[in-house]
Amino acid sequence: MNRVVITGMGIIAPNAHGLEDFEQALRQGRSGIRHLSRLEELNFSCQVAGVPSGYEELAREYFAPDRLVAMNSGMIFTGIAGIDCWRDAGLPMPDPIEGPVDWETGAVIGTGVGGVDTLGDVVFPRVKEGKVRRIGSTSVEQTMSSAVSGCLGGLLALGGQVTTNSSACTTGTEAVIQAWWHLQAGRARRVMAGGAEGVSEYIWGGFDAMRVLARGFNDRPEEASRPMSASACGFVPGSGAGILMLETLESAQERGARIYAEIVGGHVNCGGQRNGGSTTAPNPEGVRRCIQGALASAGLSPDDIDVINGHLTATMADPLEVQNWASVLQRDPKNFPWINSTKSLIGHGLGAAGGMECVASVLQLSRGFVHGSANCQDLHPTLEPYNTRIPHQTRETDARILAKASFGFGDVNGCVLFRRWE
């Protein structure tokens, strides 16, 4: 099977745009969580969220007007992160209209919910008013499940398989694993992989109604996302996109590409919504099997993991997640891998979470640091034994293996293992 490496990355997150800015944001513990007056007007309990700042202005720099008329926020994030990733991989931008198609590059770009902003603002009102004709021509391409991957395929003239996966909050990580499998099997030279999620009160409203969003921090937005904290009070909704260029090692070396890391293992599964699992909660055995499956696919032992970038959303599931990691790794808490939560700085990007957090993971690994996990000075009591392994401040490391996991509604799990490129 082919070895697979990462040769490019792109990110537009609530706290940064671009790799250099994102690295600094992670290192400095810069939060991207803000109070949104719109959510206050709409009587949300949670009135804070993570939205990439200035993205509409950025969109006008990245996209021609005729393309932008049919791009909602999720597609804009995909396009920006995707173009950045493409350029970072050292590939030439194609002509926007004519010219060759790259038949050897595909894309798996996931989204959790998709273009609900377009449905809510454009489609539903006009259909209900009996004015279907006035929907115009751009709604279908913005609301089809594959809107994000379709958008990227057109921007970059991709000619391999271009598809969208969707598995709730596991989506972005699952996309990376699917792309990895695809390349291992020799079906393409490159596959762009990651996740995107738009800015939408329609998406966030459902979670607010479930009472799983952070409440009580509307006047302190930067403190609202509190993974692993005793005072965690629900997750902060986020948005953005993170996309990675996965490439066979052979292809990368042939063209002399810069390599960030190698993907050495990965696994996805479902807990079957049994034995503690449900639509909204993980079956612990499923989580453990997923992590074990990733390790087995890499031929690594539990002692090889240096860093865990957890799912860790700031709900009651955080202690259970760490318990599952501990159960699989069987390591003394003092010798536990570093474990942090990128959501503490950017919130929970839902379908984008895995993509943005895989970029954060590979950046940390390739540039030798683990970022501080914010807002957990008051650790949850069951996590106290791990206190010395949860970085409250950013630390330099020489970590070699990082495990990135994502878990999602539907009791679905994903775990990918990155190895620093040496």
Partner: protein, 81 residues
């Protein structure tokens, strides 16, 4: 409405959808909206809706299908506005 005003408004509406702006900048009234301006054919629907909003008119599908050039568009909106 005079032809010049109609032309300016029609041009402003079509411009964001055009990949090739040269014919618009040259004032080529015979430029074909799809072939010469490079407008995505699906977007003709949006352009017709924008004409209706801008000029306060209603354009039926049969008339819309006959709008091929800038001149056609100006003629349609001028005849109804």
């Amino acid at each position: 409405m005079d032809q010049q005003t109609a032309l300016e408004k029609v041009t402003a509406i079509i411009k964001p959808y055009a990949k090739n702006l040269a014919p618009l900048e040259e004032g080529n009234l015979d430029a074909r909206i799809l072939e010469d301006l490079g407008v995505n054919s699906a977007r003709l629907v949006d352009i017709i809706l924008a004409f209706e909003d801008e000029f306060g008119i209603s354009i039926d599908d049969e008339t819309a299908d006959k709008v091929r050039t800038i001149n056609d568009a100006v003629r349609v909106v001028s005849s109804q506005a």
